[in-house]
Amino acid sequence: MAQNRNKLIELFIANISNAVIHEILEQAVIEEFIADKYRKELATSFEVAKRYREKINPVNKPLPDKDIAYIKTKIINKVRAELTTRISKGYKNIDLDLIGNLVDKALKDTEIE
């Protein structure tokens, strides 16, 4: 089923946000975390985000600056909100400073920018 571009972008944002949140939480529990082989095989948010990216035009080159700015801001806000919820409940060791770099990396890896 064809989905409109805006909807695809929103789905992409939701999945990349989830992937970044996962990465930051993983850092927070790194010492208690053991090889997560079984879950590594689950359809990860990042993999799903890539599937959406393949449907967002232009497919093979970076998106227009306006789109990039919108996507980046939305992901950063989403990730910050989710992590802040956890921090407010007493979750320690969450490093909010990681957000910017991880979002930039994710957008480059998915050829958004």
């Binding site: 996962h22 529990v29 090889a35 079984y38 359809a43 799903v48 409940k89 007493g90 979750y91």
Partner: protein
């Protein structure tokens, strides 16, 4: 008293000649004749909650154990688990956990196992990590509830709820909520199973694949979990129920984090 003799060919009957000067073996005595080469002892494995397994799979397990045994000198145990042990041949690969304190490269073993026609996923864990996974990770507990091992496998651990880890594990299953259209049936099943395992674990249940599958059937009103794998479930009502279980589980985890159950 034992005498080793050789069977020789006779005209009407074959015979075994024995020396005339001997102790015992008097004329007229009855004796037992049996081959000198003893049968190789049958290798025994330990089966945990594996009620039956197809003979060809058992052969593969034997071959896997042999390959690992020949390639690794020091290991504590070899554990075969995952969908390979399910009835039928729907598995994609064979999951193998090698318990060892040493550092091992798995590529050679994986390549050798590949020659049997099956892809191997090998995980190297030391005893401590395995015990930790078993006591705090629902999916590990579920996987290890059903396995074949080279040596006896006993882990008497107390279930330990680590809310931060469960939060991380549950987060993976969030993918299904917004992405139902783009996921395959088996991806959906894996994500549901992951969520359900966390949900049941929080209730203090001892997990097994059977228990998790039964709860999935009950919660989503399904006759068979294969309906999820075949991607033929009714989307709207399914997602409503899924989201409700997900939210309930997440709230419980946040409460756990808040109460500082696992905080230092």
């Amino acid at each position: 008293m034992e005498i080793i003799g050789k069977i020789s060919k006779g005209s009407k009957m074959d015979q075994i000649y024995i020396p005339k000067n001997r102790t015992g073996f008097c004329i007229g005595n009855y004796v037992i004749i049996k081959p000198l080469e003893e049968k190789k002892p049958v290798e025994r494995f330990y089966f945990y909650d594996v009620k039956s397994i197809e003979p060809i799979k058992l052969e593969i397990v034997k071959e896997v154990m042999r390959i690992i045994n020949e390639n690794i000198e020091n290991y504590e145990n070899i554990i075969v688990t995952g969908s390979f042990l399910d009835e039928g041949f729907q598995f994609n690969d064979i999951d193998i956990i090698i318990v060892t304190e040493g550092k091992i490269s798995t590529s050679k073993i994986e390549n050798e196992i590949k020659k049997t026609g099956i892809k191997a996923h090998i995980l190297i864990l030391n005893n401590k990590a395995l015990a930790r996974g078993f006591e705090s990770d629902p999916l590990y507990q579920m996987m290890l509830s059903r396995c074949i091992t080279k040596k006896r496998f006993i882990y008497k651990t107390k279930q330990k709820i680590n809310y931060k880890l469960l939060d991380l594990h549950l987060l993976k299953s969030k993918t299904l909520i917004d992405n139902s259209d783009i996921l395959s049936g088996s991806e959906k099943y894996d994500l549901i199973r992951n969520m359900m395992a966390v949900y049941l674990y929080l209730q203090g249940r001892r997990l097994s694949k059977e228990l998790v599958d039964n709860e999935i059937k009950k919660s989503f009103d399904l006759r068979d979990v294969n309906r999820i794998k075949q991607n033929i479930i009714e989307k709207k009502s399914f997602l409503k129920k899924y989201k409700s279980i997900y939210d309930k589980t997440f709230i419980k985890i946040l409460k756990g984090i808040e109460s500082g159950a696992e905080q230092e």
